[in-house]
Point group: C2
Chain length 561, copies 2
């Protein structure tokens, strides 16, 4: 743990998450007695088989300095930017949370599951607004992204101007809002930007990202040509995408049914934030689908990632009560395949085809555009801001490397580019930007409804159990004479099929009996040098390994009576 900066006049920059991984974005800016936290998100886990639901940053550093923390500022409302705020508040950080309109609404929905909403000070900012702190002055700038009301931050600090882009793209024709205002960044560039921290997610893509509005034409063709039901799956937070569907539905005189709880919620919140005007008159319930000609209905659905038991997975398996697909229906998967979900999504697509529907998805149809800037846009951002120092953020390590190289191509001196990862402690002064230290273990695995931590020990135990099964051995010993009076009993789980198990257990019992006989004879001779429990454990592991090629977890109990 870092206790003291080596240089008190420096601005400390500490990414707790999001640098070296895509997800759990969380960036600390610390100057003397003041800390701002930019974003506080979660990462969806690939350890869900072991009960890990998601991963959040380790907040120890903030908890140890809780009085310094003056603000959490959310750049936008995606889970990887706001999903861990409730955990940070519950950990005892008591400071205002700053967020844009739609972000505020999403945040309130999330927080009310976890904390007393009334006790949380959420301050909604307008785009372009400047929020003053003791040492910092934060100006919010509207940017384009796959969720409305996304902001970049221009932060005036005692050492100089720092820009944090948040997630962004440059969309010349967004469906909602204006295109990103380059002049704001250009102006900052002219005034002098000390440090730029910019989104690296799509740095491997070379073509300028496509505009959200190209979806409109594509959807219009597909909706107009529909012979049957049209089901559109997308992220429920993509209000701009929804807006296009509602707009087209109106134009083509179709009704919209909402499938999935968050889809219903976010249509409501979107309206509340001033989008999706008049949507309520277009919405029908899922039960009403059957009252309309099939080709006059569009179902908007969650579940684009093939999430277990999600609405779309149930539709794909023919298990959704109200939405049954048939030949002539079309499913539009209007979202990306998040890495790690490919198999689940692929399986869901196969099953949708089995229902007789036509399924269109990104890899072969242009029905999704990304919300992240690609190389040409990232280059523009670098050229507009002309920063002295550069830190690529929001990306796996390879993305950060590629973004660093791009910055060098644009002319930023290599020594002014800092390739940092989550946990690195960076010091920024007028003349230098460098990694000075590193925090220890920086991530917390979270399970269950209470956000309980899972330690590495528990995870290891679960891996063992899940891969190799468990053997439980039980004996009863006379506490006085120390002689074995009952057992062994042996139970296994996850080890082998019934017939094999019976045979294995039969021999395992004989083995334990042999050990206990040996023990008994030591007891009789009054010279016990055997740790009975441990000997049983070792012998059983050795036996099962010889028989099955695997060492299960062996739990021996010797109960003294």
């Amino acid at each position: 743990m870092i206790e003291q900066t080596t240089f008190p006049e420096a601005l400390k920059i500490l990414p707790l998450g999001g640098l070296g991984e895509i997800g759990m974005n969380c960036m600390i800016l610390e100057y003397q007695d003041e800390i701002l936290v930019v974003d506080c998100g979660l990462l969806f886990s690939d350890l869900e088989h072991f009960g890990v639901e998601f991963v959040i940053p380790d907040f120890t550093y903030l908890i140890e300095r809780k009085d310094k923390v003056k603000a959490i500022i959310a750049t936008h409302g995606h889970e990887d930017h706001i999903g861990a705020i409730s955990f940070l508040l519950k950990a005892g950080i008591n400071c205002p949370v700053y967020a844009s309109s739609f972000t505020t609404l999403l945040l309130k929905e999330k927080l009310k599951e976890h904390v007393h909403l009334s006790a949380t000070d959420i301050r909604t900012f307008k785009m372009g607004e400047t929020i003053p702190f003791t040492h910092f002055k934060v100006t919010t700038v509207s940017v384009n992204h796959s969720i409305v009301d996304s902001a970049a931050l221009i932060i005036d600090t005692p050492v100089g101007k720092v820009i944090h882009t948040g997630d962004f793209k440059i969309d010349p024709t967004p469906f909602y809002g204006q295109t990103l205002d380059k002049s704001v960044f250009a102006k900052a560039g002219q005034e002098g930007v000390l440090l730029l921290m910019s989104d690296s997610t799509n740095v491997e893509r070379c073509e300028h990202s496509m505009s959200e509005s190209i979806i409109y034409q594509k959807f219009e063709q597909l909706f107009a040509a529909a012979q049957g039901l049209t089901l559109v799956s997308m992220f429920a937070s993509n209000v701009g995408r929804m807006g296009q569907v509602f707009s087209l539905a109106k134009k083509l005189n179709k009704k919209i049914a909402l499938s999935g709880r968050t889809m219903e919620q976010n249509v409501r919140l979107g309206m509340e934030a001033g989008y999706l005007k008049g949507a309520q008159s277009q919405v029908i319930s899922l039960d009403e689908i059957r009252d309309y000609p099939r080709n006059e209905v569009i179902v908007l659905s969650t579940g684009s990632q093939g999430e277990y038991r999600s609405a779309l997975v149930r539709v794909a398996c023919g298990e959704h009560r109200q939405v049954k697909l048939q030949a002539g229906d079309t499913v539009l998967m209007s979202s990306k395949f998040i890495p790690g979900n490919e198999r689940a999504i692929g399986q869901m697509i196969n099953n949708l085809f089995k229902q007789g529907a036509e399924v269109l998805y990104e890899s072969i149809h242009d029905i999704h555009v990304s919300g992240h800037a690609t190389r040409p846009e990232l280059k523009q951002m670098l050229e507009l801001c002309k920063p002295k120092f550069f830190i690529p953020i929001h990306g796996e390590y390879r993305h950060l490397v590629h973004h660093s190289k791009l910055a060098a191509e644009v002319g930023i001196p290599v020594e002014n580019i800092v390739l940092a990862t989550s946990g690195d402690v960076i010091e920024l002064t007028e003349n230098s930007c460098k990694i000075v230290d590193r925090l220890e273990e920086g991530r917390v695995l979270v399970e269950g409804r209470d956000g309980k931590d899972i330690s590495k020990v528990i995870l290891k135990e679960r891996r063992q159990l899940g891969e190799k099964g468990v053997v439980f051995s039980l004996m009863v010993r006379n506490a006085e004479t120390r002689k074995i009076i009952a057992g062994p009993e042996i139970i296994t789980r996850g080890l082998a099929d019934q017939a094999t198990e019976n045979e294995l257990v039969y021999h395992a019992k004989r083995l334990v009996k042999k050990v206990s006989d040996e023990y008994d004879s030591q007891v009789e001779q009054g010279a016990v040098d055997m740790d009975l429990q441990e000997t049983i454990r070792v012998e059983l592991r050795r036996y099962f390994n010889a028989q099955t090629g695997k060492k299960p977890t062996v739990l021996p109990i010797v109960l003294d009576l």
Copy 2:
């Protein structure tokens, strides 16, 4: 189980695997008393966390008709085509295995781990050779693929000519061998093809697949420009790709070091099959790398899929004894990312970058070409063969759907296209091709060195254990009086951290004690209506669910003494 065809003059076609999944290809052709098995492969599992190493077809149908099985014919040497042959032989099928030269060599390596090689009748065929059986006449045709010596099969049957393409592409300039001879398929088409079964893997791609030889130019540029070590990772079976590396190394006067056991093995087998001429003089050992200027060495490595503990993963983590990367080195990932492996591969690439190396991979550099035909080639195959009936094979369900549509576009009547999945029983006559029945459960999960089956029950137990942990509860009861005389003892595993566990166990014991007191009092009153063990199980699950939001596996024992 199907016992009798409804139509004895029909050819029965029974895909045991590979239709509806990518992997475990296995196709049965049965006519009266004769069965041919085309390919017999395995599928790599995504359940490795639960100890499942791979999946193979259920061979029950063949085992019940073992005397009829006259041949296993391997189209080429990939694991998804030959990997389950050893299991079929061990299951008691005793018939010759037909394979091309390189396939034979790979097969022998695989079989010698499992069966007595001397007892296996492997018959090596030449391309163009015709193998006669009682009812069938099988002619092998050389095709292009990502492994040398790949064959399609033209099978004359009593009902007509059947073509099985195996895996193929049409490469105008393969590195080894000739381009696929279209005239052979055209001739068959003129004679009349009753049924075509064709590879669907790449049906979603619209551009003609790139030639293997384009790799040569790209590699030449990269090898020539190398400042440091060049590491090329690829599938160890891709002898054509290896051949290009060896050829370029000779031209550029570089040495080649082999990393990974199968890489060494397959270079040897490649030479034995007549490829990689003179390779031995170019190879140096991994220990010798340091004896050469760094930019004069190319390391050929396995591990392109980020497999746990593979050579390349160890290099990426800096844990490979002989291969240490540094700045200036280049890693070329010359293989595709198999779906499901993206996260592991991504992590490995990130780690390779952390070693300081430049890493090039398919998504952003042209250093890999696929071995499977894309739409234009698939269309050509359909047009050459002009089949009366068509069954798309080798693909997930969506690929089969797309391939069916392509066949319809080419002019095959929709009613002559059979969209079948593994387990379907198809009958083919001169005038009809239709699914007439379906086998039950068709796949076997395999674990461990002996190829032990894992049943669904065991898998479910392991999932439960791995996700939620396990609780053992133990009591001792007097067998005569039925009174509890010891316990409860409670042990948990994978449930919670030590402190939480202690607290949970403390309360759980009190709960069990309460149950046992109730039981005791029933015993005293002589009116026992409680199943003690079951009551404890139910109560503990309820308790842990209330406390942790999860129901662990609860195993209560009541031991009678």
